[in-house]
Symmetry: C2
Subunit: 323 residues, 2 copies
């Protein structure tokens, strides 16, 4: 068997859904599957379900299982990539779970694991908005604000694997909003979907956004997309909410870029669906706050959506990865 | 000749002084020398003077020149470590100066070059306050605020070699002081020796610091050390100046640590001579602003003083360095 016939697999082990796919070694997706993650059945069952998903993918493909060169897995929470252990994952209930060795036993191929935010960044770097960069920051605007740093072509893990917390850069040192992490003034409190919804609700209550007030009255709920849509449709209150999120995002990313001098910053997550409407004011604020030698950095929206994690997980197997 | 008999050399090519030393491969300094850098004579003369200094060190030592395994050089400004070129150095008047090849020709041994802030960090990591760390930030409080980042055991250079600019993290986003870089609110404008002197002078003018006012009247000048000494001696105005510098330093370093999760942050430069008097309030502010998963980071004063650059430069030759 020649290596050119080999395929690799990537798994994104999420708190709700487990996504898995087969890829060629150059990153073309061959076949993918989504299953509900059996969180309530415990760690062993979740790992077995992931293994079964890969076996099913192989069975449904034209490839033999002997052609599978390895499997990469993205796991939420803290991961020890060297020992292949999910140290702690609130979403999955993992605690020192030996994901690598368990999957290797079930599948008989090498397995590498990595944190989910990091595999998303690696995916975008391999096949998405971050192509051809050795220095990249990824920030994900969702319920929270996640992040990952690639420097010298490698993920920066830091001392205990907590590097990349772009969402917890303090952008409002005095009188900042309270953050879930216990600090105040974190970027997450201003630029996450949660923060945008909260600010949108406030604009509705204060009479600054008639459109959002009407929407809430009608739908009894509000999403970040609703706020973005109202802003794009000309609602001034909603536009201020997005402007504020963009201002703080540009400030936080400017600080990160002054430190790290990346070629690209890739912005993903639900809020990034706002596209250029969000990016234009982010770039303006970024240029204001970033050290000028680092200000050449490109700010781009992520391209791979929910597939980024699987793709980056598969990349772990292609690379000369320390794990 | 066995490699255990080999020695290495480190050069710190400064705008005023060129420092050079021979080291054992495990980092003991064997013999050192300081010469004035002949800046006005041009790049070639400066490089020749560095080569001559190393030849003199060898002649004065018990080692033969054939035992010299290589030379590492720290250069202020922008450095292309892969091509061995000093791209741009205001202090030295270098512009695309081929330091590596010129020195290799003069000395007949391998040469590696690196930016001066980066070699200082590598020196502290090898022989000083940063021992046994793979993830470290160094910040140097002098005329400006310099910095360097070590992640995954390697210097982070970034896209154009400008990574590590801790001094240009914006710590005061609104109404910040003007910085030399053109931005406002940079850490450098609050925590450099220059900033401390400026704030000390203001405290003297405003009547907040009788001791500094008297000092200025008498000496017609003020140093950062004078402000620190006045603060330590109980002058409230001077103490506020140091407190403010410490607050902003803790804030900026907290943001850097949230991103990079270092094991240690090493604080060097003249201002760091204040020792624990400065470090205690820096740690307090750091703990307030740093993401809690990264807050275990140790904040320490540098240990190697002006030798850090030579030592780190010599380390370039010991390591499997990309250059």
């Amino acid at each position: 068997m020649t290596t050119t016939n080999n395929i690799i697999a990537g798994v994104d082990l999420g708190g709700t859904t487990t996504k898995a796919a087969l890829f060629s070694c150059s990153g073309e997706m061959i076949h993918s599957i989504q299953i509900p993650t059996p969180v309530s059945s415990g760690p062993e069952a979740m790992i077995r379900a992931a293994a079964d998903a890969i076996k099913q993918l192989l069975a449904e493909s034209e490839y033999r299982s002997s052609q599978l060169a390895g499997v990469g897995v993205g796991v939420p929470g803290r991961v020890d990539i060297h020992r292949g252990i999910a140290v702690y994952s609130i979403n999955l209930g993992f605690r020192n779970t030996p994901v690598k060795s368990a999957l290797e036993q079930l599948l008989g191929v090498p397995v590498a694991i990595e944190n989910d935010a990091n595999v998303a960044a690696l995916g975008e770097r391999w096949q998405g908005a971050g192509k051809n960069t050795s220095n990249m920051i990824m920030v994900t605007l969702g319920t929270g604000v996640g992040g990952a740093i690639i420097a010298n072509g490698q993920i920066v893990h830091g001392a205990v694997g907590s590097a990349g917390e772009v969402g917890h850069i303090v952008v409002e040192p005095a009188n900042g909003l309270a953050c879930n992490c216990g600090n105040t003034g974190c970027l997450e409190s201003y630029a996450s979907a949660t923060a945008i919804i909260r600010a949108g609700e406030e604009a509705a209550r204060n009479g600054h956004s008639p459109r959002l007030a009407a929407h809430i009255k009608e739908q009894r709920s509000l999403t970040a997309k609703d706020v973005i849509d109202a802003a794009k449709a000309g609602d001034h209150g909603a536009a201020s909410v997005i402007q504020q999120a963009a201002y703080y995002l540009g400030l936080g990313l400017g600080q990160a870029a002054s430190l790290l001098n990346p070629e690209k910053i890739v912005i993903g997550g639900g809020v990034s669906a706002a596209g250029e409407y969000l990016l234009a004011p982010v770039r303006e604020s970024f240029q204001r706050y970033c050290y000028h030698h680092a200000a050449h950095c490109e700010l781009l929206c992520a391209q791979l959506g929910n597939d980024a994690g699987m793709i980056g997980a598969a990349w772990l197997i292609t690379a000369s990865h320390p794990a």
